[in-house]
């Protein structure tokens, strides 16, 4: 019956596309997490009243973040072609999508990290200072653990945006479900393929959301 309903769907190809989507999302998510936390920490620490208060540096980072957040993702991919080519050696395929995916979502996540860090009780930071903690101790043992639930729910939101971005990355032949739906579904007028791909993407989004929520709840001891 499934074959009658979805005559154009080739399971092995679909599975391959699903794996590609997972691959791109997870690798890009790891990159985004690291880069985003660094950006968020810099934004937070250099802001007014921060430990490394520095107006100029803060302005530079904030502007960079804002510029990259302002560029539509599809244009960002095109703009990054030379950089991708230099870094990966090609501008096609899943790996070639990664720089654009990370650079596209890290500034967004960076802002979420900044917001999460602002929510950390100032008193706790002050207590750590009063105990004679180094800045690195304050960052690693106070700021990050105390904001962890917000950092995780932030990365969950980012992950879902990323899944959308991986579909857009289909334009450079990145592979994955978006690519598959476009070339095998839309262009060949096989609407069943588009439908199945959509359902799979929605399921992947649900999986990420569920994992994110579960971890956030587990971490939050407040």
């Amino acid at each position: 019956m499934l074959i009658e309903l979805f005559p154009n769907v080739v399971i092995s190809e679909l599975w391959q596309a699903t794996l590609e989507t997972f691959y791109m999302t997870i690798i890009a998510l790891i990159g985004t997490f690291i880069l985003g936390i660094l950006l968020g920490l810099l934004l937070y620490l250099t802001s007014r009243g921060g430990i490394w208060e520095n107006k100029v540096l803060n302005l530079i980072i904030a502007s960079t973040v804002n510029i990259f957040r302002a560029i539509p993702f599809i244009i960002l991919i095109l703009l990054l072609f030379p950089f991708t080519d230099f870094l990966i050696g090609t501008i096609r395929g899943s790996n070639a999508a990664l720089p654009a995916l990370i650079i596209g979502s890290a500034p967004f996540y960076g802002r979420l990290v900044e917001i999460a860090l602002r929510e950390v009780d100032k008193g706790v930071i002050e207590a750590a200072k009063a105990m004679g903690a180094k800045t690195s101790t304050i960052v690693l043992r106070v700021l990050i653990p105390e904001s962890m639930p917000a950092l995780v729910s932030g990365i969950t939101v980012t992950a879902i945006a990323l899944i959308g971005y991986t579909a857009v990355a289909g334009v450079i032949g990145a592979g994955g479900l978006g690519d598959f739906a476009y070339y095998y579904g839309f262009q060949r007028r096989a609407s069943d393929v588009v439908f199945v791909c959509t359902v799979l993407i929605v399921i992947i989004v649900f999986i990420f959301q569920f994992i994110g929520d579960t971890i956030t709840n587990k971490l939050d001891k407040r």
Partner: protein
Amino acid sequence: MIKINSLSKLFHTKSNLISAVDDLSLEIEKGEIFGVIGYSGAGKSTFIRLINRLENPTSGQVVIDGEDITSLSKNKLRLSRQNIGMIFQHFNLLWSRTVRENIAFPLEIAGISKQERMARVDELIGLVGLSGREDAYPSELSGGQKQRVGIARALANDPKVLLCDEATSALDPETTDSILKLLIDINEKLGLTIILITHEMHVIRKICHRVAVMEAGKVVEQGDVLDVFSHPIMPVTKKFVEQVMGDNNQEDSLEWLTTGYKNGDIIKLHFVGETTSQALISQVAKQFDVDINILQGKITQTQKGAYGSLIVHIDGVSDEKESALAYIKSAPVEVEVVHHAN
């Protein structure tokens, strides 16, 4: 032990300069509990934060045990802070850590090995009376328990000084008392110097040896708690004493008290220090053939003994009454004859 020399802190706001602490000098002895009281805005919070340089002073010096805190480099200050414990009004515990892990935090900062940390934490948990709650998270604790964790954490590195920033202001009266008892206990057991700031006079009364009253960034009055209680000079001090002793507006009521008595004397007894009113009154009643009637009074206990006054009516045969009065006067009590009826 702690010397504070003409310490000042100016805050710049958009429109003007605010002098939060203004040319303040104090000396705090080793092992004493020193209280600083003032209304909000008096600068006491800034003052205590200047001691461990959570705020940097504009001018002046803080010297702890011969070490000039104000001139230390960033790194040396960090090490020095490990010898200065601090507890806070809102406890400032890490919610992501258990009681045990919170108390271990300053030990981690000081670079103490895990084994030693665990042993020290267990000891501290016993000291502050939190046994059985080691693995609870702060959100599962009451306010008093949280402050106990705060105290254990502040004591972890065996500090020379404990700074208490409104440590009981967020607690109910009963919990406040238990925390104050714990502080006295620690002060006696460890010989720890404690500096606390508060806006509540009863906190000063219950645990402090000496007190400084702050107003507009300056210490306007200071001395032994009993002296300040019995002879407040500045209006702000008088107000604080009233917080504990009630309104001293008794002149009218005295007249009202005396009108009822045709015979005998009405005397006012001031208790300042190591006396207990009950024993004195009962001794007088036992040894002399006089009637004593307590008309009005308020006695309160401070760290250095009882303080307060009683108004009593005393009547009897003239000789007996005189010798009773002489006996009372020989006790460490100030006697004031308010009304001489016959």
